[in-house]
Symmetry: C2
Subunit: 307 residues, 2 copies
């Protein structure tokens, strides 16, 4: 029987669901190892961290990092710590984003959000702790050379911060809630808020695999389109899905008169935009001198996702 | 005329105020260079970051890092980025600590706190951005080898996070607000909440200077006592000082029935504890095989501070 790695390298049709399931399992197991135990004091803080991290997330960013690394031949062990760090950063951003002063969300993935369950102060600290632990995890990753670790840390910190990263995107988004915004501005918000970390995930995998600049540029372009695809499908699901499917209150963005693709362009134009974004992601992959079915199938998967 | 550096190396009486003034000036100038400009979008976020960082802080942690590095002969340029990173982390912790869900402070250093001036959501994001930028700053510090950068990053992340650092201390503190706590527990909260980052500051300076393990242990012990000294004088000032002197509402901790040294032990016993803590800090310095007047004078300064 072939191992999963052999199948991915040889078979033209990638068993993506198997890859995602496996990625999720190894990332979850490593996160469990990296996060402080609930039995450790301060217990409430650690319980809040674990409540938020193990809330049934799809581990999309870690999977993308693992897929990019695998595409370019990096050993899985060398990718795992960075993959977990990205998930910690993603989770911290959700915990802070859900706070009453921000999006004020009570429900995420069908469960009470961190501040509803543990109180606002603990939720703020849980987010802070996760962000800190993400950087500690990469800094202490002995599978990678110190040089590679500082390159990854700088890359991920840039993508998570301001002016070119996620926090900047959230600040733009806040500011845009109270007024009409142009389509280009919306795309900029998406690029910063969601895209930057998705790009960092794909690039991190490629950097760990020590790819050429040409390949790194192609991966960056691919992941940029992927991030856009991800955000637009998210907005679309918010309009079209039911609470049961997406695990949160649908239509919430529209009610808060948040700028979204469907709100600005209508559902039909949004679907067309999705198709062209997907095509651009695939075009970028065609510039990579290796089999890229795994990355391609991730783009397909996001295009077709229903939750 | 001697340079400040020559004076420090030779003179038995260190001109501490001159050192602190100079440290503050170079740290402020470097922070100004490192932080995103207010003219850069998202402007409101960057204004909030700068409002919080340039709020008249004493730059105690950066000064301690610079002093430890100088004591062991590290060039000042090699210390500056790490010093600024520590101040960013300290500032983020104040911004989040002041939030309504945490200490709910309207005033800090005589000015409106970040969330009062810019709103809660922006204050949360400003703290997140500062924490992220702190790690980015060290990761990208080309004055240091990659190996040294990852050692510092791991050290500082440990001291800032949980279970052994600042965020853990804040979580303990939250939890202790609602009940009576034992003196040992209070000391543990102080050690985590304030001590860990102060220890990291002194150790970072020593690590950059590549000191021996013996010296690093002595610095760690010194800084641990210094952190305690810092916290106890802080608690004492809260009881004895006026709003004008300390720039915040005095007596606030007592009203919130927060566990403090004076509240648990009374003012007289607190003063005795201060003296013995100061003596322990000096005893640790005596184990260092170099002139340590600068570090000694910092301990004196904290013991005698009035604000």
């Amino acid at each position: 029987m072939k191992t999963s790695s052999e199948m991915t390298d040889c078979a033209p049709a990638i068993p993506l669901l198997e890859f995602l399931t496996q990625a999720r399992a190894i990332v979850d197991s490593e996160l469990d190892r990296l996060l402080p135990a609930e039995s450790l004091s301060p217990n409430n803080l650690h319980a809040a961290i674990r409540w938020s991290v193990f809330a049934g997330g799809k581990r999309f960013r870690p999977a993308l990092l693992l897929a990019a690394g695998k595409t370019f031949g990096a050993p899985r062990e060398s990718l795992l710590a960075s993959a977990c760090a990205l998930e910690m950063i993603h989770t911290y951003s959700l915990v802070h984003d859900d706070l009453p002063a921000m999006d004020n969300d009570d429900l995420r993935r069908g469960r009470p959000t961190c501040h509803v369950r543990f109180g606002e102060a603990t939720a703020i600290l849980a987010g802070d702790a996760l962000l800190t632990l993400a950087f500690k995890t990469i800094a202490g990753d002995e599978k990678l050379s110190a040089t590679k670790r500082v390159v990854l840390l700088a890359e991920i910190a840039r993508a998570a911060g301001t002016p070119g990263g996620m926090v900047a995107g959230q600040a733009h988004d806040l500011e845009a809630e109270s007024r009409n915004i142009a389509p280009e501005e919306l795309e900029k918000i998406h690029r910063l808020k969601t895209g930057a970390l998705i790009i960092a995930a794909a690039r991190a995998g490629a950097i760990i695999a020590e790819v050429s600049n040409t390949a790194l540029n192609a991966v960056t372009e691919y992941a940029g389109q992927l991030g856009l695809l991800f955000q637009i499908t998210d907005d679309l699901l918010d309009v079209t899905a039911t609470a049961e499917t997406i695990g949160k209150t649908p239509g919430k963005d529209a009610r808060a008169s948040k700028a979204t693709y469907p709100a600005l362009h209508g559902i039909e134009a949004t679907r067309e935009h999705l198709a062209s974004t997907h095509a651009a992601a695939c075009a970028a992959l065609s510039r990579i001198d290796r089999p890229t079915e795994l990355l391609r199938s991730i783009a397909d998967f996001i295009l077709e996702r229903e939750a």
